[in-house]
Amino acid sequence: MSTLIIIDHPPYGSWDGREALDMAFSLAAFDQPVSLLFCGAGVNWLRKGQDAMKVQQKSIERNLAAAPIFGVEALLADSNACGRYGLAETDLLEHATITDFGPELTGRYDHVAFAG
């Protein structure tokens, strides 16, 4: 039972994305295949060099860097959204991959869920 969790909120503005990340880590902890897709303003989650000190939050960059270690299969970034935010693959975290977001992608998963 493979799952794709989609995050379309920007980082730091709410806890929805962090809690979606916890969902992905939980699936991985129980050996369930899971990938994360970032689209819309959500692609900003994958930017390199984040510093969240000024908003007194933990940087999510470290959590995402650990995702492959915890068993999250892929960190996917929607190509349209990357274009809109001027992000090339070199601007993104090491394990992130730019991909096309559409039915061909979502059809590969048994279970697709958006972050809250």
Binding site: M1, T3, D16, E19, F30, H111, A113
Partner: protein, 147 residues
């Protein structure tokens, strides 16, 4: 709605079992009320709900302290009655709940808090409960805040 669309008569849950995940808070969003109406429809259609999982802001639904005006629907009470009458487990995610000040007696003691406020029959549980449903034949539906 286009009149050419045929009415859907088959359940989208092949096994006839649904799991409802509510992430929108009562009174800030329509999510808990829409989910409750959907839940009634599921049972009326002879299908089953294996679990209701509260996540993120949805955990506020399990508060025993929400007291809306008497001429408004008390969503926490309505949900708790529905779960009790139909013997459906209601689980609030522990991490979401503790972050938002929703605790049962054992968490109250563990963190030496002054009160607990979890409404029966809701229980506090881990994301493993949701994983259990997601990995099963159950159809998992999410009720978000929208907008």
């Amino acid at each position: 709605m286009s009149s050419s669309l045929p009415e859907q008569t088959k359940t989208p849950a092949p096994a006839g079992v649904f799991t409802l995940v509510i992430t929108g808070a009562p009174y800030s969003s329509q999510a808990p009320q829409t989910a409750l109406q959907f839940a009634h429809a599921v049972l009326a259609a002879g299908k089953r709900i294996d679990r209701v999982f509260l996540y993120g802001d949805g955990v506020h639904l399990a508060s025993s302290l929400s007291t809306p005006p008497s001429d408004e629907l008390n969503l926490s009470e309505a949900w708790s009655r529905f779960l009790t009458e139909n013997a459906i487990p209601g689980v609030a995610c522990i991490a979401s709940a503790l972050r938002r000040g929703l605790v049962d007696e054992s968490e109250m003691q563990r963190y030496e808090l002054s009160a607990s406020n979890l409404r029966a029959p809701f229980e506090i549980g881990g994301l493993g409960e949701w994983v259990d449903s997601a990995a099963s034949e159950s159809r998992v539906l999410y009720f978000h805040k929208g907008g």
